[in-house]
Each structure stands twice: as C-alpha cells, then as structure tokens.
C-alpha cells in the first residue's frame, strides 16, 4: 500500500481526534514509521494494523473504520490532493463509475509498484449499475463501501448499495449494486 493511504489514515485520525490520539494509536499498532511518503509503497500490514488500532482505540469495528476511511479518502484525500483530476473522472456519479475501471487501469501505469484493484461495470442502467470489484487484498470490501458512499456525497447524489456477491460468502469477487 502506498504511503498516501497511511497518510490518509493519519490525517483522518488527527483531524478527528488530535495528534495525541494518533501517537497513541500508532504506538498501540506497533508501527514504527514516523513519516509516510505518499508515493512510497508500505507493507499492507501497516495499513491493517493502523485500522485495527483505530478500531480498538475508538471502540468501533474495523469495518466501520474502513467505511469511514473510504468516505474520507474520497471527500478529503482524493479531493484535496487530486481535486480536479478526480472530477475529470466524470460529470456525474454514473459517468464516474463507468470510468472507474479505466481510471484504475491507468493508475497501475502511474504507480508501477501498486497493485490496484480492478473494477468492472455491468448491468448499466440509467439509475443503477453493477460494480465488480476484484482485489488481491482481502478485507478491503468496507473500504470500497466507504469510497462509494463518499462518491455519492461528492456528486451530491443519494446512493444505495447492495452487496450482491461477497468473497466472504465464497463468491469469486464482490459485486455491488449501486443505485442512485
């Protein structure tokens, strides 16, 4: 996971609970990295440890942490750091989601050390579509949920999510039915 993800977690915690809490979370996660470099890849365990430590410190589930983080990623990190580039993804949620597979494919080129997830769109309708999520990393399903909720807020569109397929249930990949 690139440092930008961990930085985003740090940023979310500091913004929400202060530096001291972040120090405490970092201490409890046993992560010894003082500074995350955005374009530098880090061990995925670090991200998980941080998420787990946040969950523990805040007394919420890791899933909730990842949902919150997904939203934050879209609304704060991506919007602040990539801003207009993100908006170039589409003029509406529907357009953005259609472009999402191409977008992630491009990222793979830009961040060669990254193994970005792969998306596919099917069942395209005027007010819904099926988003297929393929990832080598397990346990980031909730992060995707958070991302999709965050996109809904970004485009000021009320979003309804339905997990149609779930790897936890033995499916090949996750399929989200996104309705708006």
């Amino acid at each position: 996971m690139y440092g930008i993800v961990n930085k985003a977690i740090e940023s979310l915690v500091i913004e929400s609970f202060g530096v001291e809490k972040w120090d405490k979370i970092k201490e409890s996660s046993d992560v010894e990295v003082d500074f995350f470099i955005s374009n530098e890849p880090y061990d995925d365990d670090i991200t998980y440890s941080l998420a787990i430590a946040v969950a523990k410190e805040m007394n919420i589930t890791v899933g909730d942490v990842l949902v919150a983080f997904g939203e934050y990623w879209v609304l704060k990190t991506a919007k602040e750091k990539y801003g207009n580039l993100l908006e170039a993804g589409g003029n509406s949620l529907r357009e953005f989601l259609i472009n999402l597979p191409a977008f992630h494919n491009r990222i793979m080129l830009i961040y060669p050390k990254l193994t970005p997830p792969e998306f596919k769109v099917s069942h395209l309708e005027e007010t819904s579509l099926h988003l297929h999520y393929f990832s080598k990393r397990a346990g980031l399903k909730d992060f995707v949920v958070g991302l999709l909720q965050g996109l809904g807020k970004l485009y000021k569109t009320e979003v309804k999510l339905e997990v149609i397929n779930d790897r936890d249930n033995g499916d090949h990949h996750e399929i989200f039915k996104v309705s708006w």
Binding site: Y82, N91, N99, F103
Partner: protein, 1053 residues
Amino acid sequence: MSINLKEEQLNKLFPFHILIDNQLKVKAFGKSVSKLFPLEVGLNFFEHFTIKRPEISNPSFYEIVEHIDQLLIISYLKNTDLFIRGQVELLEDINCLLFIVTPWFSNVDMLKEYNIGMNDFAIHDPSIDLLHSFKAQEIAVNDAKELFERFQLQKSDLRRLSLIAEETFNSVVVTDNKGRVQWANKAYENLTGYSLAESRGKTPGSLLQGKDTDPETIKYLRERIDLGLSFDCELINYNKQKQPYWIRLSGQPILDRKGKVVQFFAFEEDITEKKKLEDDLKLIDFALRNTAIPIYFITKEGSISDYNVSLRETLGYTEEEFKKVTLFDLSVRHTPETWALRWEELKEKGNSYNQTMLRKKDGTLINVEMRVTILNYGNREIAFASFIDITEKILAEKRLEEQRHFYEHVLNNIPSDIAVFDKEHRYLFLNPIAIKNPELRKWMIGKKDEDYFLHTNKPKQIADKRREQFNEVITNKKLIAWEEELIRPDGKKEYHIRNMYPAIDEEGNVTLVIGYGVNITERKLIEQQLERKEKRYRDLFNYSQALICTHDLNGKILSVNPALCNTLGYQSDQLINRTLVEFIPEKDRLHFKPEYLDKIATDEKTGGVFRVISKDGRILFLLFQNYKVQEFGEEPYVIGFSQDITDRVKAEKELLVAKKMTEESAKAKEIFLANMSHEIRTPMHGILGIAGLLAKTKLDAEQENYINLITESANNLVVIINDILDIEKIGSGKFEFEKVDFKIAEKLSTTIQSFQYKAEEKGIKIELKYDFSPNLVVKGDPYRLSQILNNLMSNALKFTKQGKIVVKGTIEEENEEAIFMKFTVTDTGIGIKKDKLSIIFDPFTQASSDTTRKYGGTGLGLSICKNLVEMQGGIISVDSEEGIGTTFSFTIPYDCGFNIIPNKGETEINTDKSIFNFKKILMAEDVIVNQFLARVILESGGFKVDIANNGVEALDLFEKNDYDLILMDIQMPEMDGVTTTAKIRQLQDEKKANIPIIALTANALVGNEKEYYDAGMNACLTKPFTQEKLFEVLTKVLNPSLNLHVSNKRNIT
C-alpha cells in the same frame, strides 16, 4: 492500403482534430475542440491560431505542409497560455490539412477551467495520465518538503536540546546500563566539583554519596538501575569539597530498538534552595493551617477547595460536614450569579477588603472583616479569602457607642453645668444645663470663656477669674472649687459653685480639664434664711422665760439658756459639760436613770417634775417636758423645756391637805347617811311590817284609819329617806344608769296603774296617750323613767283636786341609732306662779312655804327628776298657769332596742306558794321585831322557820339541821351576814355549801349588792320589804329553773 475513417471514428480516435482547406479556412474539427476554442467552420485558422514551434511567421498552406513530420505546438491567439500539440498531415485527395492535436495542460486545474473530462480525450491519449503523474510527482515533492521541514525541525530541536543539556543549570549525566558515567554536562562539574574526566567510568554514587545520604534512597536507585527502570528521587549528595547539597534525581533508561537498556540518562536538579523553600513552605502551610485566622480558597464556581481548621471551627462544622459546604452556605449575600460578577470585579481590582457577615452552621451570623484576593497560577485562578471575626469587636463598639450615648445622656441630664476643656481652656464639651441654647452650645465648642463672655456681653472679670482658676488647675494638677456670684438679667443674684479638675494621663500630664458647676442659689437663699431663723431661735433661747437646756443621752448638759442659769443661780459655763444628776437631790438620784434617761431614750419624749438644787441650796420644782432629737448623722440629744413650779407645788400641797380634809368630811357624811338610812329603815321595816299585819286583823273604822295613817306616815318617811339618798348619790357622782331593752308603752301603763286607785279615791281621771306601737322597744333605764314619772304623777295627784291627769308619750325624733322620747304629765291642779317656775327644779325648793305645809314633801322630787333626765342626756321643762294646771315635759334619748325582749324573769314571775309548803328556812336576824315579822310572814306562806340571832348561831344551826334556804341579815353582832355566807360556801358538804342564801339588808347604797353577790349570796332584799316582794323573791330562788340574782332595790320606794 487506404483507410477510410468515418467522421465518428475520426472523432473517437482524435477528438481534438482540426481540418483546414488550402485557403487555411477551417473545414471541420473534433468533438472536444469547441470546449477549448469557439471555433467555427469557415474561419481563417491563422487569424485565431499561431504555430509557436517551430516558428512559422507567415504560415501558408504549403509552408505548413513542409512541417508535416514535426511536432507542432500551436497557441490560441486569444489565450496565449493555452497550447495544443500534435502533428499535421496533408490529405491530398481533398487538398486539406488535418491537424491531429491534443491540449497541453500544465496542471490538472486546467481540466476544470475548460471543463475537460476524461472522456474528452481519446483513450489512447496519455495526457490525463501525464497530469496524474505530474500530480503524483507534486505530492511526492510536497512529501519530501514536509519531511525535510520536519527533519529540520527535529534537527533544530535536537541541537537545542543538546545545548540545553550541555548548558543547563541542572546536571545531566549519561551512564552506561550499569550506572557508570559516560558523559556529564558542565553543570554536573560545577555542582559536584568533579570533572567529566574524573567521573567517567565511575558511578555517581561512589563519588557523591556521604553520611547523610539516605541508604534507603541508595537502595531504591540501585534496584531501579538493575531492573532497567526509570527512577525519581531526592537525596543528599556531597561535592568534592564534601559540602552536602540536595538534588532531585530523575533518570530513565535509554533502550535500543529491541528494548534493551543501553544507557541511563539522569537529570539532577540542585534542590537545596528548593528544599529550603519547601521547608519554608511547609512552615507557612503549617502556620496557615494552624493560624487562628480563618483562611480558605474559593473557586470561581463557589466551592471551597481548601481551608484551615480555624475557618471550620469558627463556623461550627465538623470536618466531614464541611466537605459539602460551599461559599453560598456561608455567604449571606452571594448567589452563584453574584459571585460570578464579584469574581470579575475582584479580578479587575486584584483584591478587596470589606466588612460582611457569614452564616455559621447553626444559622447564627458573625461579622467579619474579609479580605479576598484572586490568585493566578498559570491557567488556574483561585480566590484566597481570610477574615477576622469582628462580631465581638462590633458588639464592643456598639456597647462603647451605647456607653458613650449613655454617658452623654447622663452628662446631659445631670443637673449641673458640665464642661470639658482642652489644655488651652477651649471648650470640648458642654451639657445642656451649662448652655441651654443648642446653637450657642455648638458655637462654643473650640471657643474660650473669654469668647463666650464677649459674645454674650457678660462681665469680663468672671471670665478672668475662671481663667485664673483654670491655670491653677493646669499648674497644680488638683481640683479647685470656688463660688461664683452672677447677676441675672432680672437683676437677681445667682450663686454657683464651680469645680475644675484635671484629667491626667499615665505620664502625669494634664490631658483635659473637667468643669462642673451647680446652681446653689436656692441653697444659698435657704442658708441665709436659716441664718436668720437661727438667730431668731437663738434670741428665743436667750430671751425666753422658759428654762431651756439640751443634754446628751447620758445626761451631760450641752447648752443652757440664761433663764435656766438665772433660776439655778449658775453661770452657763458652770453648767455645761456637767451632768444633770449632779443637780438632783441625793434622794432622787437613784430614779434618775431608769425613770428619766432610759425613758426618754426609748419613748423619745417625757414629762414630769424634777427636784433640783439651786446654787444657794434651795430645792426647786421644775415642771419639764423634754424631747429626744435625732438628726441625720448626729448623735441624738435631748432638748428640755421646764418651768419653775416651786411656788405652785407649795400651793398644791396646801390644797391637797384641804382636799383630804374635805374628802374625809364627805366620807363621814356618806357613812352617816348610810348609817342613818340603815338605822331608820330597820325600825321602818318593823313599823310597816307590823302595821301590815295589824291591817289584816279585824279592826273598826277608827282603828283602820289609824293604821292607814301609820302606814302612810311611814311610807312618806321612806320616800324622804330615798330622796335624800338619791340627792346624795347625784351629788357624789355615784349614780348609775342601766341599759336594758324595755317596752315604753308597758312601762307607762304599769307606772300609771299604781296611781289609779288613789286617783279614783280623789275623783280624778288619769288618761294615758301615746302615738307609737305598744311593742316599741328602746334601750335605757326603765326604773329611772318610772321614778321620774312616779315623781311627776305623785306631784300631779297631790296638787290636783279635780279634773284629770293626762300622761302622754310621743316620739320626738328618730334615727338609725336613737329615739328621742318626749313625755308630758299634764294636770288640772293649782298651777305654779310664774316667778316660781325658774326655781321649781332647785333642790329643797317648793313653790311656796304654804305648799310644804299644805302638801308636805321634801322639795327634792323635781330636783331629782331634773338630774335624772339631764344625766340621761335629756331636758325637762315646766309650763304652768296658776289655777289652770301644770304640764311637765321631759325628753330622753334612748338607743334603739330589740323588738324581742330577753326574758328577764322579774316581771314574769308570779308567786307560787305551793312550792313553799314545809320548806325549812333558817333566818339570821338580830332585831327581834324583824325576827317576829319575818316568822309571821313566812309561816303564813307555809314555811317552817328557825331563827338565829347572829352569824355564829346561824352557822351552828345550819350545821346541825337541814334547810332549804337561808335569809341572811347583813349587819349582825358576832358575825355579819357576808362572813357567814362566805363560811357556808366553804363547807365540805357540797349540798350545804350550795344552799340558796337571800341577803336582807337595810343598806340602800349602791355597791353593797355587789359585795353580797361576791360573797356567794343568791338574791338581795332591801328593807323595808313587803310580804309580796319577799314571796316573789323566795319563789325565784327556790325554783331551780330560775337561778337568778334577785333584788328589790329598784322598788324600794
């Protein structure tokens, strides 16, 4: 191979293409171009665009064709920042140039500026990926910058910390994990005196610990180091010069990444001063906690964060109770709202000092002087409060104020002038007695007497005198008093006594002068009057003819007046200080103390006669009246007034002799009369008794007439004797009146009845009239009324030949206590000459000498009547016309009586001869005629009679025989009746001793009867008595139910 692309395909593959003809006019353009430029078909391309690289200054169709294989950078003339880049190709078949371009954005923000999205680019176009890469690069650069800044910051911090560690005043020591010194800073060297070189490789303890270093602390340090743990402690170290100092030692292990202790970092702070301060603080804390001044800390919210014992105890709480107490429980004025305002106020002012009240646990309030300060410790603010309980002080002040008011009130109401002056004689205080006018009084404060006298136009010399006295008080520091004479506006004099005395402080200096004055005008006038009076008394004393002296209670003479000196023939100094007893005859001296000195000391006054011896030896009689005088604060003394009665005493002595002779003569006369009465009565008793007996025998008319004459003559003689005795009794004042209840009408009726027979004989009618109830009862002497009426009736009957006699009784006046009864006896007799009316009541007087000859009588009757009436408080008068008749009127006041008359027996008792039969009577009588007479009468009644000639015989006969009754004559030879009776009453035989005894006596004088009764006699009969009277008395005495004293004395007439 030729490829034909449809316009749609061309647009998908090259959305930013532009086609121009050989006239350089736009022929067609891609779908995304219009988002960048407002391009229209037919426009001259180069009028809107220019080829920036390679530079073509004047582009033409062919010149452009020349650049077909080159990268073209084209700029838009209207926006030189916007570039498009690509290449151009000649389409020969249509003779047009096709520009295949894509916009060149230097940053992602331009996408938004031109509303270019991902779909506006051909999929193969990497422009947007380039922008993404730029962005990633930008982020990476920013990360690098941030990291660098943080590094710089940490580097700077590290440098600063190193410097601090090196240069800090506190020792910093780095040791290895065994505690051996590896590095130390300069402060360590300064503090310990050991250089780093000296210390390196050694434990600080081996160098610095000494005798007072606490072994427990050393043990603690050793353990912590061995365990690789941090430590914090305070201990005493010794420097190289072996001087002790306190340090606070804090250390912590330095761990490697694996957590292994590699070093210790220790920080040593010299806390010697701090320790001292701490000790001082402890002392202060102790002092504050134990001070008697209540202290506490209040938070902004009003809770009490800390306090001392004094506060809690002053307010009466236990420690447990006080934990819940807040400011609002204590304060009488603060609520959370007011306290918040007060807090801000205090913050502004810094502190406050005021008086307020606090509420104790029991609800009582105390007054306090409160000091509150807001203290600021960093971010913490706290109010520090302390107070002094001034409840007592306020009370004391109040009391003082009250006392001041009290004293002022007292001073203002003391009926004396009171003024207080300062040392310069200026007025500090004046009471309203001194100066009535309040305005003037106020004006005078701070002024001097001189100012006042000038102001009020009073004589200056008085002010000068006062000033003189004032100066003397200041100089001598002693009270001065003097009298002041003032002239009032009305010209009268006024006198004041003035006093001034100094108030002196502890050092003996005069602080104030207090003046007070009393108006003594009245006293002065009284004194003057007293002086005048005293002179008068002195004159009276000196010139009085009364003999005046004073002496103390022991009889020592204190003063004498000239009259006394003259009388006794001594000079006053020869009398003063001597005792009275010295001038009293030897014979009287024994009586002097008990009968005079003691008596006057007790009774306070006494009078009598002193016999005193004058200087020439004469005995003088002084009639004295002496008084004890007791004056406050003085020894009591006696003032005596006397007069010389020596001549009078002499005369009285002579008179006494004469009086004694007179009295003896009167006594002789009385005895003579008594004897004469006795001696006449005794034969008269015989004469009348025998005549009575004779009358009961058969007689011819002549004999009967002789007997009547004898009886009448004898009765007349008895009347004469009785009248003489009454006159004598009246004259000697021995007459006594009874006070008994009796019916007036009945008395009048019975009295008249006794004259009825005689009146009828003379053919005269007697009428009785009265205007009151027959049952009217009065209290008085019925016998004397009867005696007066008898006298008047007797006279009326005597002097009336024909006609009638009217007796009338009326109530003249009546009130609650008394009834004035008027009685008149009117006859139709010869009357009395007018010139005789005035002497008619004189004794031994009759209307004419003819009267005596013609009608007989002693001339005593009316005189006795007058005396009897007047002695009962009444008056008697006479009204008469010669030849027509006479009316005697008299009035007697009687007390109101009871309507029910007690049974007196005398008038109720009838003679009952049945009880006489066979009763034995012993008669003691020395006169034979009387023995004979009595025996005949008694035996005619049925009695058996024994005669004894005297008392001795009587006793003898009585002891030998039994009798039912004894008739006892009083005057008998051998033993008189009184003695005999007394002996009988003393007999052992009770029956004999109680025998009824009736006295028979010719003694008619008052007082005799009492003697008989006292001797034990039961009844008394005065001679001469009639048979009826004797039987009546015997009936009473022999009837046991009528055990009364009986006497016939009232009926002796």
